[in-house]
Symmetry: C2
Subunit: 202 residues, 2 copies
């Protein structure tokens, strides 16, 4: 990963990319994410080829946008009082995440993003860094739960954290395919409660 020299060529390229990105955002807001690449490049005043030298696909741009949203999970987590039980932290953080997904990101973007992940014309690096932040939060909570004796000491903390995040993604996928007859916030809470307390007796 070498930083490119800031010569005029590089600067112009960055300006072009930004023009494409900005035009896309305006058109997305105006006409939704079905906006064609043709209309984006027309508004940006560049050629189609230029679009594709900056973005691998139409999805790439959308994923760029999603990943640049500041979702503010980390802030929410650090703002939590530290004297509540870790199981409650888990629930609260997860509720917050679902709120953001439902209200700030929205069904259309989530669908596109999940579709892009499957078809993957897309560089997943940024997506993974997003995961890493989430993962750290869950890891901390579960570690805390084990330390404080609320959670089983036999837990594989890393694995459990990953499974919490997978549950969020799973429920969000379910939301995509069942929309609007599915309440993802309600369901993720039910799922977490199952994960916390288990199905088996004692």
């Amino acid at each position: 990963m070498e930083a490119k020299k800031e010569n005029s060529r590089v600067i112009k390229a960055a300006q072009t990319k930004k023009r494409i990105y900005d035009s896309a955002l305006i058109l997305f807001k105006r006409h939704g994410f079905g906006t064609s690449v043709d209309s984006i490049v027309e508004m940006a005043g560049v050629s189609k080829g230029s679009f594709y030298s900056h973005y691998n696909s139409k999805f790439s741009l959308i994923i760029d946008y999603v990943n640049n949203l500041d979702l503010g999970y980390a802030d929410f987590f650090t703002s939590l009082p530290s004297d509540i039980p870790p199981s409650s932290m888990l629930i609260l953080v997860t509720e917050k995440i679902m709120d953001v997904i439902i209200n700030d990101v929205g069904i259309d973007l989530i669908k596109l993003s999940y579709e892009a992940q499957i078809t993957k014309t897309v560089n997943t690096d940024i997506q993974l860094s997003y995961d890493r932040k989430l993962y750290q939060i869950y890891n901390q909570i579960i570690q805390l739960g084990v330390q404080q004796g609320e959670f089983k000491s036999t837990l594989d903390i890393e694995s459990v954290s990953k499974h919490c995040i997978m549950s969020i993604r799973g429920i969000t996928y379910e939301w995509c395919i069942r929309f609007p007859d599915f309440d993802p916030k309600d369901e993720i809470i039910k799922h977490l409660n199952l994960l916390l307390s288990g199905i088996k007796k004692g």
Copy 2:
């Protein structure tokens, strides 16, 4: 839902649909699921419009195919000895389902099918009937667990069944986006064990 009379018109239409379907399968096997609709109708000797009067979209045909696979879950379930604990049944059935998904259906079809579910120009009725069968199996197992006293009597059986199936779908989605660096069978078992025993102490 009225049964159509079997006049020659209906029979011919069914034959046309079958010719399209069979050609598609041959081409899918030969060139993968990227096969174009044009080449399918060329091989079937029908027009493109005809294709679209039988299938809403290219995905529809693929979904049709996936749903017509006899996945044999039900048989596997009924062949289980009835004296093993319900928690083991849950694990065994789920392992079987994952085996089928991984080996009989395969990553390419699963990806297409999951993509189709998200983009959904597609009639989900058949997908739902597939779910219904699975759902019945899980419902029975969990009911048995409650009756025999292995599972908590306070469980909402229907909700827990749904969440088991959602977990399968969630993990399968994860497999799609992480392939090949993800072992869905291993992970679904871990997830189920968490669901069964819980994270919290006693």
